[in-house]
């Protein structure tokens, strides 16, 4: 069932051509210097190319050929060459990348028209896509890191596209620093993997593996390297700054796709190159992941900037994904192949889901932004009346990311829970005690996510408009709507027919953790059964059908026994309705109960109310002060240390010539001393 008649063997070549095409588009965009026609051209071509790439990757994934498609180009490091390979894992992530890319390009066709500085966006957008594709298909350390950093660089350029906003520049700077930090960590990791003779090709590394102590070091470095790109706490700080700064379709790519590329890097190195895992590695991963999930969603709850809220949710979902991966590590280390496959499948499933609904949500926020010019929820409201389609799509996305059945987000979290429930099979005490706690964290983050998206959707789209801009909003263009509704449809499909996705993920799990879940094809619409039916099962289709049936039943019953009459009147509101929209609940006040429960200990949340004295006409104000523990405990001190060191050393620029001579003299003497005392 190969799409476009491309056999799996040549798929890698086709993908490389797609990359070449994207880079070509980037060059054209540079030459076009942001003419009006360029926008349409760039996004159309990007859309076509990514769509083709999606088809190729999908066919490769479904065919699941025995041997991966590979090729070597005479580039990169001269004596290794640039190796490229597509195995099941790469194919899956290619699907994720290009699916997101296609959606973003489609969206960009409409959204890009509002761009104020197209010449700063158009050249880098295709380059960014190309970079992400390259990372996934790269098969030697040098090419991998080159593409990795190229991807970072392109996205950095997009983050600073609107460079008059000072905070965008700051975001870009921090982002580039963290990205390079991560890259250097990965570089060290590869240095260890490459060994003395410097074997940089993945296949060779995978054969050699690594000795346990070295492997542990590699794991730590990889956690830093990929974690800093994916947004694991405490390496997440750049993410909520950088993702919102970019144009929205780019934010969608960064949040929905680039973080997944980071996950790919983790999987590739830890599961593929590093050889058999040791059980306590998973403790490390699980601990970080659990904290990331909970902290991420709590951060998100405290935000009232829509895009920043979404960015923090990316942090949370990355946590969930890494929980799955950590479980997979734990099970694999203990030889429980099927359980490992379950956890791994859950993680990959969530990767796909998150890329879909996070892109959808960022598109929605972009639609809001271009319709109202507002990102701050406190100035939104009532958009559901003026932007019904956007509202609907955003609603589906919100429900999906809140892990509500029968949508796709629920399935992957359900699978993760099922994997957690297999933890008694593990012999190690540490894991037995840790995993249920992580499960609690997962449950907590899921519940909080629901709360957060009630807030996000409710405050932005429901209620009465809080600003004239919101009151004047207009529904966005067809391309954007199409992109959003398409992704919404995917959310539903993934939730209703999870079996199809899980079957497609089968070969990936087989390759990397050596186990596979029972294949349900051809009747994949039947319930998904992770282990055994007596243990647990879920059937999205039936649930969906039952709910739909029940709705119809209710409607019919009302038609028969009741009346459909309805009348509009002012809101009741317990008898004292207030016309001013200021009396509605705002984003801040909505989060207040949760802030009182969690904020106190984590963010040192302070609320101070300043009450006007009787007779004063000014309004009372409530100020909420939050403090970011991670920033204040980790990054601020580092910054302080660097600047202090710089201040300490700076006087050395201003010595007298004699003192400089003194330095020379001193250097000479000390070396001579060493030489004299040399045995």
């Amino acid at each position: 069932m190969s799409a476009l008649g491309v056999s799996a063997a040549t798929s890698v070549v086709v993908i490389l051509w797609c990359v070449a095409a994207l880079i070509g588009v980037a060059v054209c965009a540079i030459l076009a210097k942001g003419r009006a026609a360029a926008t349409a051209f760039v996004y159309t071509v990007s859309f076509v190319v990514t769509a083709v790439a999606t088809a190729i990757a999908l066919s490769h994934l479904l065919e699941a050929p025995a041997s991966p498609a590979a090729t070597v180009l005479p580039a990169g490091l001269a004596w290794t060459g640039a190796h490229f390979r597509i195995d099941a894992l790469a194919a899956f992530f290619l699907v994720v990348v290009n699916l997101g890319g296609a959606a973003a390009s489609l969206y960009g066709l409409g959204y890009g028209r509002h761009e104020t500085a197209p010449e700063r966006v158009l050249p880098f957008y295709p380059a960014f896509l190309a970079g992400m594709n390259l990372v996934v298909i790269a098969a030697d350390a040098f090419t991998f890191l080159l593409s990795w950093e190229f991807m970072s660089l392109a996205s950095w350029a997009l983050v600073v596209a609107h460079h008059h906003v000072a905070e965008n520049i700051r975001a870009g700077t921090i982002y580039l620093l963290m990205a390079s930090f991560g890259t250097l960590a990965l570089l060290l990791a590869f240095g260890l993997l490459a060994g003395a003779e410097g074997t940089y090709v993945f296949s060779a590394i995978a054969e050699r593996g690594a000795a346990p102590p070295v492997a542990a070091l590699v794991l730590a470095l990889v956690l830093i390297g990929t974690g800093s790109k994916a947004g694991l706490v405490p390496l997440h700080v750049w993410l909520p700054l950088a993702h919102p700064a970019a144009p929205n379709h780019v934010s969608a790519l960064m949040s929905g796709v680039m973080t997944k590329v980071a996950v790919y890097g983790f999987i590739r190195i830890v599961f593929d190159l590093l050889g058999p895992p040791v059980w306590w590695w998973s403790m490390l991963v699980l601990g970080l992941a659990g904290i990331t999930a909970v902290l991420g969603v709590l951060y998100a709850l405290m935000q009232h900037d829509l895009k920043r809220l979404l960015a923090y949710h990316t942090v949370e979902n990355i946590g969930i994904i890494f929980i799955g991966l950590g479980l997979a590590l734990a099970f694999e280390a203990n030889g429980l192949a099927v359980a490992a496959a379950l956890a791994f499948t859950a993680a990959l499933f969530h990767v796909l889901n998150h890329s879909v609904f996070k892109s959808l949500l960022f598109f929605g926020s972009g639609a809001v932004l271009s319709a109202t010019g507002e990102r701050d929820m406190e100035h939104l409201g009532g958009l559901i009346h003026r932007m019904p389609q956007t509202a609907f799509a955003f609603l589906v996305g919100s429900a999906a990311i809140s892990a509500l059945p029968p949508l796709n987000g629920f399935v992957s979290e359900w699978l993760t829970f099922q994997a957690i429930l297999l933890s008694p099979a593990l012999p190690q005490w540490g894991l037995r005690l840790l995993i249920p706690a992580v499960g609690a964290m997962l449950a907590l983050s899921a519940a909080l996510a629901a709360a957060c998206f009630v807030k996000a959707f409710g405050v932005s789209f429901l209620g009465r408009p809080r600003s004239r801009a919101a009151a004047r909003a207009r529904e966005v263009d067809g391309f954007s709507i199409a992109a959003m509704l398409g992704l919404a449809a995917l959310c539903v499909a993934g939730g209703v027919l999870p079996g199809v996705v899980m079957d497609a993920l089968g070969p990936v799990a087989r390759d990397l953790v050596g186990g596979q879940l029972a294949v349900r094809a051809p009747d994949a619409w039947l319930p998904i059964v992770p282990i055994a039916e007596s243990r647990s099962s879920y059937n999205g289709l039936v649930i969906f059908a039952l709910v739909a049936g029940a709705v119809l039943f209710a409607a019919a019953a009302i038609r028969i026994f009741g009346t459909g009459a309805a009348r509009r009147s002012p809101a009741w509101d317990c008898g004292f309705p207030d016309p001013s929209p200021a009396t509605q609940y705002s984003a801040t006040s909505f989060a207040q109960p949760i802030r009182r429960v969690f904020g106190g200990m984590i963010f040192a949340a302070r609320e101070q109310v300043e009450m006007p004295r009787p007779g004063e006409m000014r309004p009372a104000r409530l100020r909420v002060a939050l403090r970011d523990p991670v920033w204040e405990m980790l990054y601020a001190p580092i910054g302080m240390a660097v600047s202090r060191a710089a201040d300490r050393l700076n006087p050395l620029q201003f010595l007298t010539i004699r003192r400089y001579l003194g330095l020379v003299f001193f250097a000479l003497l000390s070396v001579l001393m060493v030489l004299a005392l040399w045995p």
């Binding site: 249920p436 429901l462 509009r568 609940y585 429960v597």
Partner: protein, 316 residues
Amino acid sequence: MIRELAPFGAQMLLVLLLAPLLQGITVRVKARLLRRRGPPLIQPYRDLARLLRKEVVLAENASWLFRAAPYLIFALSWVAASLVPTFAIDLPLGRSADLIAIVALLATARFFLALAGLDVGTSFGGIGSSREVMIASLAEPAMIMIIFSLALVAGSTALSTISVFAMSPEVGLRVSLGLALVGLIMVAIAENARIPVDNPATHLELTMVHEAMVLEYSGRHLALIEAAAALKLLLYMSLLACIFAPWGIADAEADWTAWAIGGGAYVAKLAAGCVALAVFETAIAKMRVFRVPEFLGVALMLGLLATLLRLVSRSL
């Protein structure tokens, strides 16, 4: 096909019909305990019928979501309630959702209820939703933890399997089960907005949660929401019944008689549950909203403790 699905359909109808009765019983018993006569048992049915026939009064800026939400909430609660084994286990389609999925279905219902509360843009709706999600954000993890402990005991999250296990002799008195039971009751109280967490009867705005959300609803919409609430109460009661008191429940290859016995037992259990609930609610007073987190925190801790204790005892 039809023959296969018939029992499940019967279960769906059963729960739908029984749900209002629960409220009737509870109210009645409470009134008795307060030395009042109280309304007749069928009063809830009457109310619902009346509401259905009334015309709906919509706030001016109520959106399509506001009108669609009641149907969704009702449907989700109903499906969830009918997925819990009532008079028999292992009904066809009964396995299409395990305990986690059922809880998640309720969460979906709550998601839309909270949104509906925000839709009109009144302050009371806001209070209701924000408190509701706060409570839920603690109740759901607690519930999941309880499910964990049960699942680890029974080795499954499928309710049928759990109740089979609960009937089997090997389940002795286990501390973790006891903890789970207490926790589950606490969660059930919170989830159903009963005293001490919330007061279904009150309309004193500042203390109410559930009622504040549905303040703007009227007519058939209100009817659907009330029905959904009733179904939710029934759901939790039958959950307690089939996990902790699975006696008389019919198993897979049972015949009509067994089903009849099961049904009878089920109704009896429900009645008992309602009486217990009434007594409990009469006995204690409502707590302040910001005591609720502590209340639910206890439930969460109980769940986690149950899980860990289970693990420990398993590995000994």
